[in-house]
């Protein structure tokens, strides 16, 4: 049985936003468009996600913008989830929480279907939804009418290109080259390759 992942959540509550401390190591910046969109969603729907606070340090781990927005809007309290992390663990979460989420890619079909059902009165939120819809639409390939003509194909000669290989043991490469007895290393490598191909074909007959 797989080892259980620890639950570091130690409680839930509600706090006045002016009692929550911004994390001095917070690296995220929030453009005005994001702030405006968040205000729109909070006004439309309300709180659906807790601000994460590390009980050990008292600092916010996730939710700085929500706290700032709530303060600016004169909100009396916001929902909070408390976690119990060491300072090192806090740093790890602070570094990876958003980037991990940002790694999610778009299933454009699902996204278009979802956006078709989403409405809002907030202009800022509508901007984001429109951008999402445009991006999903833009990545959708469509049938077009072919326009056929036919001309020939041309071949040109090569310039220098090097195959690049990451070898665990470079020395064996040199040993094999040397074993051919050929001074020209390029010819030696070709000889090795031809010999190998010759042996492989003979085995496969």
């Amino acid at each position: 049985m797989a080892e259980s992942w620890r639950n570091r959540i130690v409680g839930h509550g509600a706090e006045s936003p002016d009692r929550l401390a911004a994390n001095p190591r917070n690296w995220r910046l929030h453009p005005k468009s994001q702030q405006d969109a968040l205000v729109g969603v909070l006004a439309d729907v309300g709180w659906v996600q807790d601000v994460v606070v590390n009980q050990t340090t008292g600092f916010i781990l996730d939710g700085h913008l929500r706290v700032a927005t709530a303060l600016a809007a004169g909100q009396a309290s916001i929902p909070v989830v408390y976690v119990d992390l060491t300072p090192d663990e806090e740093a790890l979460i602070l570094a990876t929480l958003d980037p991990l989420g940002a790694m999610a890619e778009a299933d454009t079909t699902q996204l278009r279907s979802l956006l078709a059902d989403v409405t809002t009165d907030s202009a800022a939120v509508q901007t984001i939804l429109t951008e999402l819809a445009e991006a999903a639409e833009a990545a959708t390939l469509r049938e077009i009418d072919p326009d056929t003509r036919s001309k020939g194909m041309t071949v040109t000669t090569a310039t220098t290109v090097r195959p690049v290989l990451a070898l665990a043991d470079v020395a064996v490469f040199d040993q094999a080259i040397q074993a051919t007895g050929l001074d020209n290393r390029g010819e030696a490598l070709m000889a090795i390759c031809r010999a190998y191909l010759g042996e492989t074909r003979a085995e496969n007959r």
């Binding site: 790694m103 890619e105 778009a106 454009t108 445009e134 991006a135 999903a136 833009a138 990545a139 959708t140 390939l141 469509r142 049938e143 077009i144 072919p146 326009d147 056929t148 003509r149 036919s150 001309k151 194909m153 041309t154 071949v155 040109t156 000669t157 090569a158 310039t159 220098t160 290109v161 090097r162 195959p163 690049v164 290989l165 990451a166």
Partner: protein, 205 residues
């Protein structure tokens, strides 16, 4: 203008994942391997492919990142033109240069290599900014496009012009352009992303 930004990367990934859904058994060729970020997000779980990278250090890094791929250090245009990587029946061609994609697309389509019945091409095209400044007059790969659209109108219709150009190049190589999507992105919409599904002329979709 920075060569990339987070939004652009996310949209690149979304587009590639959308195109990959059209190919149950993709065999990928990356014309410009770069730092391998697209591979990490889109191609890591696929079978062996082919990648080109001009920068020595980046190529070495790519060889470590994907030891099962054929990694080539050198100019992808001349290497592709010579048929480099033809040992793999590539059916998914990723072109993500800093500037223009058309020489690499030409080189791939015109070279001596297995050409699948169905081919996906996904592109980041950085020419639109230059077109805005010069009308495209000094861009060799767009000479005929400028003549067709006019230097004063090409910027406004750049995406449509790219679709037309892709149709032409596909036809020259014996393909029909069957499915297409594209959009502008990046700062001041200077970048153009597009994806195409090509099928052999006279073949099924």
């Amino acid at each position: 203008m920075p060569k990339t930004d987070n939004t652009t990367l996310r949209r690149k990934v979304t587009l590639r994942l959308a195109l990959l859904r059209e190919f149950p058994d993709p065999i990928v060729c990356e014309a410009y391997g770069g730092y391998g970020r697209i591979y990490d997000r889109c191609y890591r779980d696929l079978g062996p492919g082919v990648v080109f990278e001009k920068d020595e250090l980046k190529a070495a890094s790519l060889a470590v990142q994907r030891p099962h791929w054929a990694v080539y250090e050198g100019d992808c245009v001349s290497a592709l033109a010579a048929g480099c990587g033809r040992h793999r029946p590539v059916n998914f061609f990723d072109v993500d240069p800093y500037g223009q994609p058309w020489p690499a697309i030409d080189a791939f389509l015109r070279s001596d290599r297995p050409h699948p019945d169905r081919l996906g091409i996904v592109v980041q095209d950085g020419l639109r900014q230059k077109v805005q400044l010069t009308g495209g007059r000094n861009i060799k790969s767009l000479i005929q496009t400028v003549q067709r659209w006019g230097a004063d109108h090409l910027y406004e219709h750049y995406l449509e012009a790219c679709r037309e150009l892709m149709t032409d190049k596909a036809a020259e190589a014996g393909y029909d352009l069957r499915r297409w999507t594209g959009y502008y992105c990046g700062r001041q919409n200077a970048l153009t992303h597009y994806a195409a599904v090509l099928t052999r002329s006279g073949g099924s979709r």
